[in-house]
Amino acid sequence: MTNVGANDNHSRLDGYVEYVTATIGEQAFGLPIARVQDVFMLEKLTRVPLAPPEIAGVLNLRGRIVTAIDMRERLGLERRRNDESAIAIGIECNGESYGLMIDAIGEVLKLAEDTRESNPANLDKRLASVSAGVHRLEGQLLVVLDVDRVLEIGLNAKAA
């Protein structure tokens, strides 16, 4: 549990990593800032029939086609009441663009790498599967998202 992602060398300053924080459900999450391309509002989402349930649809973001991932569905949380004014964090993986749909965006935190702890044993299984460890913040836990694992959708689901 020493590496957060392949591309986060830039954000690792003297043993510190910068995280973009977001809330999904009641939980706070952190994404290594080096993996985050942008944050945008979801507009004109096109549903994709027959797609895995985690994939909310596709949309046009400045001429690029972005695949929107419903993080609540991905984490096994209850569905959002409606899709209006959803915010997404744009990330890139193997040249493809994805938008992780979140409930709210938070601040950017600079956290020491050595304070990151491994997943608590009783962490929810679905959460644990996409978590790269946790940081203890004042009053709450920040789950560090392993972006590549979040995107492991459809590939193995269909292969089975």
Binding site: R47, V48, G154
Partner: protein
């Protein structure tokens, strides 16, 4: 050095490809000095560059090849052996180049073997002189050979002279060229002449007119243009909403420029399809030599241009298909002679534009596809069941060759049949949004037709709506649009749950797009109206029901996210003018769902051998049972129509019975939808046999109709053979054989038990309809029936098993017909005693005479059920008495 080497590799590879083609041409036309000149120049260039770059191994080999070709030019006769050795040398050079590309070093090794044979061919006289023990014959041969070309040589003296002059010039600078700078800086007049010659012969001239641009640059340019097209579309969409905007005029201008730019950039990517064919003459030549066949490869339309991306993707499939044709399709000269064809087989490749597509055809005049073998193989591999195979049309069965794991080659050869079959070809063509189809006539040949888009980047698509979502359907696959309306000629009919459109008297299977994409809940639209996009994939036609149709739009296909790529219904996605993302439907994906659902079939094409069936009309009893759709059964199978007073219907042991002519007759309901009425009269169809009767309860007897019978769509439902058009209406044809055992479980078995094995009959019938219809009739009469689908299968059965009381065969069958089968049975003393009975839809008096002469004892019309039974019984009794 790196750049230089790369340039050298690219250029040399291109030259070598050209040499391949030219050499094969040259072999066929050895007196063509121009071709020889081309080859010579190319090899010489390769040699020269190798020397310049310090690649001694390549240089030595090229030099030896050049020397031999120089001899050709000097008048030595061109032999196939010599050309083979030169081609081998070219192959070796290619191998070395591949290594060179990988390691940037010339691989170790020597080519003394090839150089040796090249030299032996080039200097036979020298060899003879050096070797005192050499045969004098070789010398005379050469001398003779030297004499021979003098005649043509004298005629084109000018050509010869020029050739000599060039040789003299070229050989000299070959040495200075070895030293770096030699060719360019040496003031030697010889070198100057050499350069002039080179310029004159084209390389220099071409260079001034074209430049090399890396493919990446063009790709990038194309991407940018695609983005520009999208942005333009978006702007146009905005302008459309705003009527009077100042943007209108400049926007129009922008639109035009964009369109022209798009066209221009596309042009830079266009290459003649001949580039993909370049290797084929060589491939075919080698194959012909290896297989001992004579093959004429004709190429038409090589100049037809298409996008290089598409070109790259079809190159391998095309090569594979030509190999297949040469290897499997074309027969050996002796076989061709026996079949009355010219000994030289022809493979004809042609390409032409049609709409926004390119059609490539590969036609051969070989043996054609053996449909039954294809079917047998498909059954053996578990791709289809025998029942499915029996119901397939000829075209469907031919298309089985595109199924994975199906190669009908009996022997695995070094050329093809390595388990990589037509399925790979189809997959490759599917990938580029193209379609492939095959038409074949046994013994005459086969034609493969490939339809591919000109380009992959920008395609024209029809925007449709289903279940509130919009989708793009590639225009390539769309044939026509139909608006279906209730109460009109074109309305959506339903047979069971399968929606069908009757389009110009053909049944077109329909799919509801919303339902296929699982957007609309369960039942979906049961409406008889809607928009239907008639599509064609291969020769499979079907209709896609959508809620609404919009415009067509030029769309830029963008690959789907890897997380969505497993969804077979979409081939990609794109951004529309209004900025929204839209999924692009993959016609192949839709076609597959139809294939699975209803055993799709095609319009416009009918089974070749069902002609006899089509010509004969027959009477059908048309009725309704359980649903408003029409059902029918051949009238000849029905004994009687009855309307029975419901008061007479009794229940016994949970079954409906009626006293009928002194017996109890069980009643069977056609399906669960049919209710046995409580009052009034109950219509039913009565089927009787040997004192036993059964009543099939229906709702309403509609009519008796005369029509041709063509089962358009085979059915999976028990009790239904399939659907046909009868008097212009889609109608289900009922399988009576399914209902008889429901009345008397032992309807068929009872008689088998009581009769001896002498009562087995062999039924040979290619039509699946009669194969389904006749056995129940015969079984009901107490015979055990063994069925063969054609003459060959019948003979195969008879080899193992001759215990038949009679053989009943159809006369019209593909391959071996009934008369030929009869002759084969008569010729075999072990089977000659079995009485033969011919069945056919139609026979003229002359035909009847031929039937008698062929040894048939009886002839019965196909639908004459009592006649058939009595004839078979007659034959069998005779046999028993005789025994």
């Amino acid at each position: 050095m790196d750049d230089l080497l790369r340039e050298f590799l690219t250029e040399t590879n291109e030259s070598l490809d050209t040499i391949d083609v030219e050499l094969v041409r040259f072999e066929q036309d050895p007196n063509n000095a121009q071709i020889l000149g081309n080859i010579f120049r190319l090899v010489h260039t390769v040699k020269g560059t190798c020397g310049f770059l310090g690649l001694p191994r390549l240089e030595a080999l090229a030099h030896a090849a050049e020397t031999l070709m120089g001899k050709f030019r000097d008048g030595m006769p061109v032999t196939a052996d010599a050309v083979t050795v030169i081609l081998e040398s070219i192959d070796r050079i290619k191998e070395i180049l591949t290594d060179l590309e990988a390691t940037q070093q010339e691989p170790q090794g020597a080519d003394t073997d090839l150089i040796g044979s090249l030299e032996r061919l080039a200097f036979p006289v020298a060899a003879t002189r050096a070797d005192a023990a050499a045969k004098q014959a070789a010398g005379t041969l050469v001398r003779q050979a030297l004499e021979r070309p003098l005649r043509p040589g004298e005629v084109s003296l000018d050509e010869l002279e020029r050739a000599f002059r060039e040789t003299a010039v070229e050989i000299e600078p070959a040495f200075p060229a070895k030293e770096p700078d030699g060719a360019s800086a040496a003031p030697a007049s010889a070198a100057k002449v050499f350069r002039d010659v080179d310029d004159e012969t084209g390389a220099g001239k071409l260079a001034s007119q074209s430049i090399r641009v890396s493919v990446n640059t063009l790709e990038h340019l194309m991407t940018m243009v695609s983005e520009l097209v999208l942005a333009r579309n978006q702007l146009l969409e905005i302008a459309r909403r705003d009527e009077d905007t100042d943007f209108k005029v400049p926007l129009q201008r922008l639109s035009h420029v964009t369109a022209e730019l798009q066209e221009g950039v596309m042009k830079t990517r266009m290459q003649p399809i001949g580039n993909a064919w370049q290797k084929l003459p060589r491939v075919v030549r080698d194959l012909a030599a290896e297989l001992g066949k004579e093959i004429d490869l004709q190429m038409v339309g090589a100049e037809t241009e298409l996008d290089r991306q598409v070109l790259d993707l079809i190159r391998d499939p095309l090569t594979h298909m030509v190999r297949n044709s040469a290897d499997h399709a074309l027969e050996r000269p002796a076989d061709r002679r026996a079949a009355g064809k010219p000994e030289t087989g022809t493979i004809r490749l042609s390409a032409y534009h049609e709409g926004g597509h390119i059609i490539v055809q590969i036609a051969d005049d070989g043996r054609g596809l053996h449909v039954e073998k294809v079917k047998a193989k498909a059954i053996a591999n578990g791709l289809i069941t025998e029942a499915e195979a029996a119901k397939m049309t000829e075209a469907q069965a031919q298309r089985l060759i595109f199924a994975p794991g199906l190669s009908t080659a009996q022997a695995i050869t070094s050329i093809s049949g390595r388990g990589v079959g037509m399925d790979v070809v189809k997959t490759n063509i599917d990938q580029i949004g193209g379609t492939i189809d095959v038409k074949s006539v046994l013994g005459v040949g086969a034609t493969f037709t490939i339809k591919i888009p000109l380009t992959l980047a920008i395609v024209s698509a029809l925007i449709v709506e289903a279940a509130g979502e919009r989708f793009a359907i590639p225009q390539l696959a769309v044939i026509e649009l139909v608006r279906a309306q209730a109460n009109s000629d074109s309305r959506i009919e339903r047979i069971k749950d399968t929606p069908i459109l009757r389009l110009r008297d053909k049944l077109l299977p329909l799919v509801d797009l919303g339902r296929v994409l699982e957007l609309s809940a369960g039942q979906g639209s049961n409406a008889a109206s809607g928009f239907i996009v008639v599509m064609q994939v291969g020769s499979q036609k079907f209709g896609v029901v959508v809620d609404d149709l919009f415009h067509t739009e030029e769309i830029v296909v963008k690959p789907m996210s890897s997380r969505l790529r497993h969804i077979g219904m979409f081939s990609g996605n794109t951004i529309l003018g209004d900025g929204s993302v839209i999924m692009i439907i993959d016609p192949n994906g839709i076609a597959e769902t139809i294939g699975a659902a209803s055993n799709a079939n095609e319009l416009g094409e009918t089974e070749a051998h069902s002609a006899s069936l089509e010509d004969a009309t027959q009477a059908f009893l048309v009725f309704r049972a359980g649903s408003p759709e029409l059902k029918a059964v051949p009238l000849s199978l029905v004994t009687r129509l009855e309307e029975i007073d419901c008061a007479r219907i009794e229940m016994s042991n949970g079954r409906h019975l009626v006293q009928y002519r002194g017996h109890l007759m069980p009643l069977v309901r056609m399906n669960d939808g049919v209710q046995v009425r409580g009052r009034g009269v109950q219509p039913m169809l009565v089927f009787s046999d040997e004192g036993r009767s059964m009543g099939l309860v229906v709702d309403e007897i509609v009519d008796i109709a005369e029509d041709k019978l063509t089962i358009e769509i085979a059915s999976q439902t028990p009790g239904v053979l399939g659907s046909a058009v009868i008097r212009g209406k889609a109608t289900e044809i009922i399988d009576v054989g399914h209902f008889l055992p429901q009345a008397f479980e032992d309807w068929f078995r009872r008689k088998e038990d009581t009769r001896a094995s002498a009562q087995r009959v062999l039924l040979v019938e290619d039509s699946s309809f009669f194969r389904n219809m006749l056995p129940p009739v015969l079984q009901a009469a107490g015979f055990r029936v063994v069925v063969a689908v054609d003459g060959e299968e019948a003979l195969a059965i008879l080899k193992k098993d001759r215990e038949f009381a009679a053989i009943i065969t159809d006369l019209e069958m593909p391959g071996m017909d009934g008369l030929q089968l009869a002759a084969a049975i008569r010729d075999d003393s072990r089977t000659a005693h079995i009485p033969l009975l011919a069945i056919s839809s139609y026979a003229s008096p002359a035909m009847l005479e031929r039937i008698r002469q062929a040894g048939f004892r009886e002839f019965v019309a196909k639908f004459d059920r009592p006649g058939l039974i009595s004839a078979v019984k007659g034959l069998c009794t005779e046999l028993v008495e005789a025994a």
